[in-house]
């Protein structure tokens, strides 16, 4: 009977797996004109999965002989994953259709990636962790290369695949070292075995895990694959890639560094801080000189990775549990807020690429305020949110990280962070300058006005504003989620 009880805790994963199969089969029976039905179908499935997440909230059980944990932290990650999934699914189809990219495959691959993120978030064993990681990244490679007839898409996918597999191998190697040292792959047991220990071998294990992990979140100096992969992928998919796998990778970092390696946090903090500062600064400086909005957003996503890492650094430097939890909460809030605003921002770029020859240059934004006031206003709010201006979610996310960092005694990091935010203002605001303060090009890019996209954009912007004005609603959930770690 145990197995059956355990099944209930897997309800969200089961629904998601069923959704993958449903999409594949439904796709077979839909005529070309009716393929769009896949989008509402997928959204419905994801909403159902979201409902299932509510059911497993507050269960906090480790199931399947310690391989799988359904704690509130994992449920939070799953809920955020659902949000990402729904927005991505709504944004993508109209962009894909004009490029003759098959919708069925897109939906199915995307949902598979979501399933990988679920498994990753819930892993309480290094084996499950690696399984989830691969289940998440394999579909990501495919999504990048989904535009088969486009050279950039192919190039991006190949780079992403080669470097990504390399990183996965490095993570796996790190895991094997940890196994060699502690004799177990169970995360809780690893943590218990490492209490008060330090050795050269451990240092090697930490090194491999850190390199692999930061590779996956695209931190400097392991970020070189991102701009090409992000630029090559179909734009709305880039939005997903810039937040989905990142969210998964942060789940991995939390499970590995804040759970398995938690006893050694004083040892990995130093190098982690260096990477954090490098990531936010280099990401911003390089984004500054981009004239292609898509590429600019790709580099800026590196900078945001740095801000999120600051939350994790605050966790590691904290002297008491409350402060440490605050660091994790900051990471969770930032990841969620960033996901919503960044997917939507990429989607707006995609909407201006209705003409397939457009590459999302700054010029296509010229005079957008006159041509499409609603979309320009939405993009404006998203840019302000990415800059971190109140009252948007981007502001509150930064505030949370700052608060955690200062509380943990890393005030200098907070100062570097805000200077970076001011630097970022320069390139984010440039988009607003183009939209509001320039006249349209003589031959302006046609704008996509699909209903799904408009709905998703409205939802995202509403989310950005509501979470920015009244974040109180989810702060309680965050606290409970982060508490699962302590």
């Amino acid at each position: 009977m145990d197995m059956l009880d355990d099944l209930v805790t897997l309800l969200p994963e089961l629904i998601l797996a069923a959704l993958v199969l449903t999409i594949i089969t439904t796709d077979l029976f839909l005529s070309r004109a009716n393929k769009w039905l896949l989008t509402p179908l997928t959204v419905a499935g994801l909403v159902l999965t979201g409902a299932a997440c509510v059911v497993v909230w507050d269960i906090n059980e480790t199931v399947y002989a310690g391989f799988y944990v359904v704690d509130d932290l994992s449920v939070f990650f799953k809920a955020a994953t659902i949000v990402i999934g729904i927005i991505s699914v709504l944004f993508a189809p109209s962009y894909l259709v004009v490029r003759r990219i098959p919708l069925g495959e897109f939906h199915m691959i995307l949902v598979s990636a979501l399933l990988g993120m679920f498994v990753l978030a819930s892993s309480s064993d290094m084996i499950t962790l690696f399984l989830g990681l691969e289940l998440m990244t394999m579909p990501s490679y495919l999504l990048t290369g989904l535009h088969k007839t486009d050279r950039y898409s192919n190039e991006g996918a190949l780079k992403y695949f080669l470097l990504g597999s390399f990183a996965s191998a490095i993570v796996l190697f790190g895991i094997s070292w940890l196994y060699g040292i502690t004799g177990t792959t169970n995360i809780a047991e690893i943590a218990a075995a490492l209490e008060g220990r330090m050795s050269g071998a451990l240092l090697i294990a930490i090194g491999f895990l850190l390199v692999g992990g930061t590779f996956k979140i695209a931190a400097v100096p392991f970020h070189y694959w991102t701009p090409d992969a992000y630029q090559g992928a179909p734009t709305p998919i880039t939005g997903f890639l810039s937040v989905g796998p990142k969210l998964g990778a942060f789940a991995l970092l939390i499970r590995v560094f804040a759970e398995a390696l938690a006893p050694l946090r004083a040892d990995w903090l130093g190098i982690f801080l260096v990477l954090t500062v490098l990531t936010m600064t280099i990401g911003n400086v390089v984004a500054l000189v981009q004239v292609n909005v898509k590429r600019m957003l790709a580099y800026s996503s590196i900078a945001h990775t740095g801000y999120i890492m600051a939350g994790l650094a605050a966790y590691a430097n904290a002297s008491d549990t409350d402060t440490a939890a605050q660091g994790i909460e900051a990471v969770l809030f930032y990841v969620l807020g960033y996901a919503v605003m960044n997917i939507a921002a990429f989607a707006v770029v995609g909407m201006l690429q209705r003409d397939t020859r457009r590459f999302g240059g700054l010029n296509s934004f010229a005079g957008l305020a006159a041509r499409s006031p609603g979309r320009a206003a939405a993009m404006g709010i998203l840019m302000l949110s990415l800059t971190g201006i109140p009252p948007t979610v981007g502001f509150f996310a930064k505030l949370y990280v700052l608060l955690a960092a200062i509380d943990a005694g890393l005030a200098w990091l907070a100062v570097i962070l805000v200077l970076n935010a001011a630097l970022a203002a320069f390139y984010y605001l440039r988009v607003i300058v183009y939209m509001y303060m320039r006249d349209p090009e003589p031959d302006p890019a046609p704008i996509d006005t699909s209903p799904f996209g408009s709905v998703a954009l409205a939802l995202s912007v509403a989310g950005v504003l509501i979470l920015g004005l009244f974040p109180g609603a989810i702060l309680g959930l965050l606290e409970v989620s982060a508490a699962s770690l302590f």
Binding site: L399, L402, A411, A414, V415, L419, F426, Y436
Partner: protein
């Protein structure tokens, strides 16, 4: 009275206007202008209720306090004391004037323009009434972006450069201030107090010396850039030159006051030890600003730039008065803020009147205007003299009090500040002479037949400013009485803490 949310109504009536504007089609300019004007006038009318402030009563009146983000102790707390009150009134008056004045000059993207100006009003008013430091920061940022758009969309030829410079400067300062606010709140909570951003709870707490020094520097950067103090002033002339007239009125009239207000409300009472230690430096910078601003104003060929640099000089007086830490100095600083808001607002408005007709502001291109448009010349003269500080007009009281306060601090400082009164007379009168007397330039002769004097709308816009500049000049009593209590509190805070042994940092 207490249950009636006066302050929220003042702050959010413009926001109601914004929501209504969103419903009106963009082509209906008439309706848009009326809605915006009524929203601003509504806010102004409600702000008159603040005159019911009881002098000698509790410090912050008309308080409202509602929970907001409980997990971090952030609350929606607003209230006014004498200092906030005069600045709120200044804001509502000048915003209404600016909106009314924009009636004709703004013909492009009308709806967006009024939305931006009303949002700006919300931000500025919020800054003056917020008693929660987090709320204060939010309003502070909210006031930044509408101005960015106003300069960037409706401004002159180099508007994009000017506006980006304006926003980046301000943003660097304000983000550092955010870190300082968080650090102060965390330090306060670390002593076992509940975590809060309440201004009343955070002040009067003895923060560690290093924290005070660092936080003071962060606050200083945010406020000094806004004031703007030398050497952080370089964004101001650019922003002013490119901004549309109404933008300049609000920029000079109210936005610069946010910086001065920040010093008086937060830097001094919150971090008194650091304020005392840093005072000599700040007084030095203020003197440089006063003289430098005046000298640079003297050689400006552009009318608007001249007024902009005179602002640098006048705001230097505000800073000087604030950091000599005595009653006269502080009262003078506050009075000077109000007076500068009215005078400079009016001067920019008047520059706008001529610019609308000739699309040119070069002093060399003018001349002899007194003969053609005498009423305009008379009004320009009135505000020119107010700006110089002629007794009987508002500018005199503020400057006089500041110099008096400075004299009690140090005779040399007062003497240096006094010199500039002569410099300001030189650049203002010289400008006045070149614009209104002498013979008209060739350029101006072309416009000679079509030049018109101040029209009815412009009189209506100028009316309140004329009343204020004369009223504040001949009868300063009520305002000085209202700001007496806040001034005493600041002095008390500075005196009380200056003796705790926070040695000079150098």
């Amino acid at each position: 009275m207490n249950s009636f949310p006066v302050i929220s109504l003042i702050v959010f009536t413009p926001l109601l206007g914004v929501l209504l504007l969103l419903l009106v089609p963009g082509t209906n300019h008439r309706a848009i202008r009326w809605i915006a004007l009524l929203a601003a006038l509504g806010s102004f009318a409600i702000s008159l209720l603040l005159l019911g402030y009881e002098i000698g009563g509790s410090e912050f009146q008309f308080r409202e306090d509602v929970g907001w983000i409980d997990a971090f102790g952030m609350r929606y707390t607003v209230g006014v004391d004498g200092l906030s009150m005069v600045l709120v009134l200044l804001t509502t008056v000048l915003s209404a004037v600016a909106i009314f004045y924009s009636w004709e000059p703004i013909q492009k993207r009308v709806k967006e323009y009024y939305i931006a100006i009303l949002l700006l009003m919300v931000g500025m008013l919020g800054v003056f009434v917020a008693l929660d430091m987090f709320l204060f920061y939010v309003f502070w940022e909210v006031s930044l972006f509408p101005m960015y758009v106003i300069i960037g969309v409706w401004g002159g030829p180099r508007r994009v450069y000017a506006t980006v410079k304006f926003v980046i400067y301000t943003l660097v300062g304000s983000l550092l201030m955010l870190v300082a606010i968080l650090a102060v709140a965390i330090a306060h909570a670390a002593s076992g107090q509940p975590f809060t951003f309440s201004y009343e709870a955070l002040r009067g707490f003895a923060y560690a010396d290093t924290l005070q020094a660092l936080a003071f520097v962060a606050f200083f950067l945010a406020f000094a850039i806004k004031v703007p103090m030398w050497p952080f002033h370089t964004w101001l002339p650019d922003a002013h030159v490119e901004a549309p007239t109404a933008g300049s009125i609000i920029l000079a009239g109210v936005l610069l006051k946010l910086g001065g207000y920040g010093f008086l409300r937060f830097s001094l009472p919150l971090l008194p030890d650091a304020a005392v230690s840093f005072a000599p430096i700040i007084i030095g910078l203020a003197l440089v600003a006063i003289i430098y601003g005046g000298l640079v104003a003297m050689v400006q060929p552009d009318l608007k730039k001249l007024v902009a640099y005179s602002s640098v000089s006048h705001m230097g007086f505000v800073m000087l008065g604030a950091f000599v830490f005595n009653e006269q100095g502080l009262q003078g600083a506050i009075y000077q803020m109000v007076s500068h808001g009215v005078t400079t607002g009016a001067l920019f408005l008047l520059v706008g009147v001529i610019y609308e007709q000739t699309h040119d502001r070069l002093i060399a291109h003018m001349g002899g205007l007194n003969a053609r448009i005498p009423r305009y010349a008379a009004m320009f003269g009135l505000f020119t003299f107010a700006s110089i500080g002629l007794p009987g007009l508002s500018g005199f009281i503020g400057e006089f009090l500041v110099v008096l306060g400075a004299f009690r601090y140090n005779g040399f400082v007062a003497a240096t500040a006094m010199v500039v009164v002569i410099i300001s007379a030189v650049y203002m009168l010289w400008m006045f002479q070149r614009v209104f007397f002498t013979v008209p330039s060739d350029w101006m002769s072309r416009f000679w037949p079509v030049l018109r004097d101040i029209n009815r709308n412009e009189w209506i816009a100028l009316g309140p400013l004329i009343v204020l500049v004369v009223g504040l000049g001949v009868y300063p009593g009520p305002v000085l009485e209202i700001i007496a209590a806040p001034v005493d509190r600041i002095i008390e805070a500075v005196n009380g803490a200056g003796l705790t042994g926070f040695g000079p940092l150098w």
